[in-house]
Subunit: 659 residues, 2 copies
Amino acid sequence: MPSGRRGRVPVGSSLLEAARQLGVEIESICGGRLTCGKCRIQVENGQFPKHGILSADAHLSSAAADEQTLLLKIGSPECRLACTAQVQDDLLIFVPEESRAHKQIIRKSATERVIEIDPAVRQVYVVVDEAELGEHRGDWGRLQAALTDQWQLTNLTIDLPVLRRLQSALRQGNWQITVTLWQEQEVIDVQPGYAEGAYGVAVDIGSTTVAGHLCDLRTGAILATESAMNPQVRYGEDLMSRVSYAIQHTDGTEKMHQAILETLNRLIAKIAKEAGVRPQTIYEAVFVGNTTMTHLLLNINPVELGGAPFALANREAMDLKARDLGLRISPSANIHILPAEAGHVGADNVGVLIAEAPYQQDEIILLVDVGTNAEIVLGNREWLYSASSPTGPAFEGAQISYGMRAAPGAIERVRIDPATQIARFRVIGEGRWSDEWLADGAEQPAYRAAGICGSGIIEAVAEMFLAGILLPDGRFNPENQGDRLLWRGRTGAYILAAGDQTGSGDPILVTQEDVRNIQLAKAALYAGAKLLLNRAGISAVDRITLAGAFGSYIDPKYAMILGLIPDCDLAKVVAVGNAAGDGARIALLNRQKRIEAQEVARWIRYIETAVDPEFQNEFVGAIHLPHATDAFPHLTGLLPEKGEKSGGRGRERRRPRLG
Amino acid sequence: MPSGRRGRVPVGSSLLEAARQLGVEIESICGGRLTCGKCRIQVENGQFPKHGILSADAHLSSAAADEQTLLLKIGSPECRLACTAQVQDDLLIFVPEESRAHKQIIRKSATERVIEIDPAVRQVYVVVDEAELGEHRGDWGRLQAALTDQWQLTNLTIDLPVLRRLQSALRQGNWQITVTLWQEQEVIDVQPGYAEGAYGVAVDIGSTTVAGHLCDLRTGAILATESAMNPQVRYGEDLMSRVSYAIQHTDGTEKMHQAILETLNRLIAKIAKEAGVRPQTIYEAVFVGNTTMTHLLLNINPVELGGAPFALANREAMDLKARDLGLRISPSANIHILPAEAGHVGADNVGVLIAEAPYQQDEIILLVDVGTNAEIVLGNREWLYSASSPTGPAFEGAQISYGMRAAPGAIERVRIDPATQIARFRVIGEGRWSDEWLADGAEQPAYRAAGICGSGIIEAVAEMFLAGILLPDGRFNPENQGDRLLWRGRTGAYILAAGDQTGSGDPILVTQEDVRNIQLAKAALYAGAKLLLNRAGISAVDRITLAGAFGSYIDPKYAMILGLIPDCDLAKVVAVGNAAGDGARIALLNRQKRIEAQEVARWIRYIETAVDPEFQNEFVGAIHLPHATDAFPHLTGLLPEKGEKSGGRGRERRRPRLG
């Protein structure tokens, strides 16, 4: 139990052997030496056709003193160890979750994910023949023999820094050592005696934010999570300015490479310290990022990504030694970088793909990951398209007059009363809406408004449109002369937060230029999705998945009102958080997923938007609010009805042009 | 011609294809693109059964302008290029030596060696598909495809530093590049356009001397040779004192590692400069050395080699990246270290083995390589034993009162007139014997005597014995009161060079202690050889091969008079120079030999001398001059006859105890 496997095994078989024979994998590090205690199982009372009801332990060899001692020590006196308990007669065995090899764990991120634990790094405990006179295999030769005898591992190599420590480890451990292996082909650590603890990091290198998880490679548990700013921001806000920096400065690539490396080293040191893990026991790191990020991580000049035909140095997944990059984890650790799809769709999108696995679904899914570029994936198990859209950083709060990153004080939610045209809002770090903490006698807010973040500007623009402040073409309605509007000639601005609601005392405005930037960004995003829909010959999707921080913060309703995404049942629009980072973690914990990543990266059909006239056409058509080229049946009820009186001051509002 | 292969090929085949079909490998780097000019061949006039006499070129497609241009450029207007010339009818083709792939070259070292050139490093010229929009393989993917199409190379990897240069190389070379491959599995360099030049170094790291060759990996030519002192000497003259230094000082291993690394880097920079070769085009380095040297080279603490059971960290051959060791050649270059046999017989002896290949001989060979330790190999194609003997550094001129290294001024040859007991000698750097330049009116010598080197002390002691100055037990003959002898109590010393013959003006002596040290050294050497003879159950060998600098300088006759080596026909005693270094060069130029090295290192039976009572017994028995335990029939005529009047001054000389 719980696999339900049953079969006959020879009397005297250990439960571990019996389980293997029946195809049930039970975890074991020490290989039956009563050291690790990982293979504990429980004997169940159960009914068998031949014997009727069995009492627990009735048909199992009894536990010797050393087994009992270990079980007490690990706090499981009710269990037995599968490596020593022997089958005497029919038995019903329960293998607890934690004793299962290749266990599946469900990790909660923004969404729940099931990850089968099958890491590339594995630790085994071996007893090695002592060196003796007249026997000349050398310590490495003897260790290889022991690994073959005790773990059926052959054709191994040993990394030089490990070979340097081998002789002292063997003698210190009295010829018993714990060996850390990568891909069952290379010895990447040796420790004297029985040792436990193999860790890995999964890092998503975003253009602006770097986020890393420290995981226990045996259990899959996330031990610590941290994020940091990408220091390359100082060389350019967006990708293209960084590429330009690399082109214009001889040492530009090197500088940006060193900057990200330093940040990664600091980030990893921090999460290791937080989790109480020695960096030397971090044996693998998986990185995802867009193609410019991975080029810079590898110290490869991204110049070719700056112009057509956008040639990658390498599209394939890479494995390299941590020391070759200067990453301060175990020097023998492997760095795995997920493959890319094309010049503008990188390992981060492949991370999203293996996290969401649209290639295993029947439903047609539109996957949208919005960063400075938006990566868009459309399809299901039968076909899969991807594209990249140059949305620019407006959705991240950049290029917005009062824009800021999603930090305390950032306006993230906006509601505008169509009658008064006054906005109420919520800032990050303060649970209450502004009208609540502005009310008489209310407690002061933790933070007053400091600026507008990505989700805030989207809600603000959408609400301004719904409130009749903006016309469908994005202009401020010149007929609207309410006191929340400021006019300079024919150019308007909207007072989102008055001076008494902000930290600085100055009002926070949404300007015409801000609206234009949001229009350009949303048109790019929509045009990309539309291009893929056209290519697939379909007009609607079954489900929309929003990945990335942006997707988590944004209200899908507003995304649809603005026309960021195609029409879809709102209940079928879900945000899954940092799916790229989750993909990195999945690849860290399951090596089969790396193969899957490589396969899907080659299989997916990438559509180049940059020079596609159809994209330009869709882009122009999507500038309007929500946009002018398509029907949005699911918006019914969300948009003002034709002729409806709204937008305050009794003015007639124009209905957006649909169809 | 000259292979004699013949066969039928389709009309229109290129000669290159035809040759391949007939199993004749012709060199080609550019793969038929009229760039490299390596595949030039000559059309012969010859007789065929069907056509009678053929005139040259009669049945070959005529040369186009571009072929003619290239042939003129490379100075071979009489040749054709096999890649473009097409077979029209029966033909007789001569493939010159330099156009043959896997050519055999004969290199003169101390002995002539035939080396088949089949290096691990290979360069190929490829034309790569240009990057274009809508094609997403990436530059590395496109290069892989080109290597598969044009050179049938698959499953390749690319080293990160090379990937960093790939994109600019492709564009600079207009999508034509020269790729350097290691073992046909890894790309270790890319250069724009057609480029030629792959070099390698073979280095023998001796305890006192480091000697390196720079070779052209394509032709096998030695381009430069240099040697340097091993700087580890400052941490200990002999191996055991270096091991002690590593044990007694925490940073001892690191210090000695850095010292040798620095010397290697300087040595390689020097030979590269000498040969006009860029260090970045040195793509492989092969090292040999004794086990302590290879451990220190790899920065592995040699502590275990300091005592029984003398456990090696690793007995097997190793391949590692030059950058992992800090060797300043191409960072992607491979470092190959030959395998060891046992704790005291290292890669240097394996170098000797593949250079001399006793495992391919019918004759039973005794191979002696004398350094601070002597490694002894005995056997033939059927069986092979090896042993190590602790001779100490006496044979290298150390532990000798007036000892010095083999440098200008060192006495290397000695003849003592039995009548006068006066020695004449020859010093390194001066061609004439001392009596010639001491004669009236003779020209001054280039160097006067400064000390005694290894071969000099052996000849001195042997001649002293033959002249009756020494008794067979090694004592100075107390009855000899000649004026060339100095006595302090009962301890004598011999004036080898008087003050007027030396640079300093002080005489050069051979003391009783010097004689004792030579006795101990020669007894160790002989006992080691005797142990192997006993183990093999034989009493004589067919051939004795002396390897190492020592073997080259020593006169085999004196080696046998002193009893360094077992009895053997003097004509069958040959010196082969630095066979260990030759082995390194052979492994550098031929990768099959690396496999052979690994096989023989495992196959040879190593006999541990250190704790063998039989060795101690043979050692004690071999202290005498020449020694007391065996007959030396080949010495007949060399030793003074019983009762012969000699040794001057009319004193009766005792015959050495033989048998």
